[in-house]
Amino acid sequence: MKRMNYYLQVLTVIGINIILAVSLNLVSGFTGQLSLGHATFMGIGAYTATLLALKLHVPFIPSLIFGAAMAAFFGFIIGVPTLRLKGDYLAIATLGFGEIMKNILLNLKITGGPMGLRGIPKVTNIYIVAAAVVVVIFTLNRIMISRVGKSFIAIREDELAAEAMGINTTNYKILAFTIGAFYAGIAGGLFAFLFRYINPNNFGFMKSIEILCMVVLGGMGNTAGAILGAALLTVLPEFLRSVSPLISQYRMVFYGLLLVVMMIVRPQGLLSNTSFYFRRISVEKNAGKGGR
């Protein structure tokens, strides 16, 4: 029974990480904007949802959605000035934003400072997470086969050409960033109501990098890849823990080593960009009705 609970817990965490990875994949994989602050939006969602539940006794689902909306709002506010920047500059700007947010959380009274917030009711379970994953991936797929999704990919492929087609590239980048932040906010809320305790370090730079690793490992711009990357990188440390005491002690070393080897052997990620499933479908579907 105890073992069963452990597996369910790991599975639940995988689900949360899948939401984080596919949402970062929207921003970095599909739209091509490298963000190093994705965990920050998760944090905003987690803190907002928690505070609403603890202080105002708002029920779980509205808290979760409001937390996600708050994350999206911050995504928008941050996106407007920073998404005029390109490549490395954007990465640094998102990194800076993450640090600012972390310091705000560390110093505000209402967020409990470095002590964080405790006593959050445990609501999140595998069913809720599974439902959230399905909703997120479904809506994301709808976006990606639409004109909006095509525009995201066009921006990644060639921003100047996209602009020459009449696509307002800045607006679309902000939109991708805002949607990505919204999903990350959902993941944050689920996280808070699962572990029942949050502190600013849960949502720091290392978490952002971890999410990015999932996306890169799975294959940038590939939803199936992001899902696979999230599952693998969640399970891997747990698996190494269970192999033998020696490996368990050095599990993070193996974890790092595996990432290095992966990137040398398969730099394009496990599932490469050209093979993601729903794009194939969309090409065929549109060929049927639109093109010919």
């Binding site: 990919i153 050409a161 960009n273 639109g290």
Partner: protein
Amino acid sequence: MLKLENVVTHYGNIQALKGISLEISRGEIATVIGANGAGKTTTLKAICGLVGVTSGKIFFEEKDITGKPTPDIVSSGIAMVPEGRRIFPRMSVLENLQLGAYLNNDKNDVRKDMERVFELFPILKQRLKQVAGTLSGGEQQMLAIGRALMAKPRLLLLDEPSMGLAPMIVSSIFDIITEINQSGTTILLVEQNAQMALSIAHKGYVLETGRIVMEDTAENLLHNEQVKKAYLGE
């Protein structure tokens, strides 16, 4: 149809265009020839609103389009084929063409335009589901032109369509450009290949370091001694 009055642009502190004036009438092929760095591409980018104009005015069909955002300019009837083709390499040929019609919401209309593109470039129809980056250079250039035509331009801007292509393919591309022009699209062609450009154009401008130093009919420029020496290699 298109009129540039004393257009000046800057890249940072560097003046790229030092006051360009040119005029294209409806139904014409006009060409701007010049060496690397003369400001040919910048001229096209300024027309499309991809580069800010410091001073001067740009009129399209009598309307002032100076400083307007690119989407507005594209929807007013100007489309550009960028230098180096710049197709979306990991998207299919179909998706590339669909993005060309980005501002057109009428699906039937888009389908009709696509048929027209297939008439000009039958090869694109065969390659419809192929990933664009795997096309040959010539096919990519055709796709880039087709993609621009999907925006239903009344004025088509072409930036070095001959770049990096074999001579035979260049001449077939230029035949198609003439065909597009004859079906009613006005064309502004920017080229380093002066011979080819002047042979299909009605009117030519010679650009040197951000200034227009000569303008005449294409015919006259082809026989001009200075042009021959500097650009036609004679």
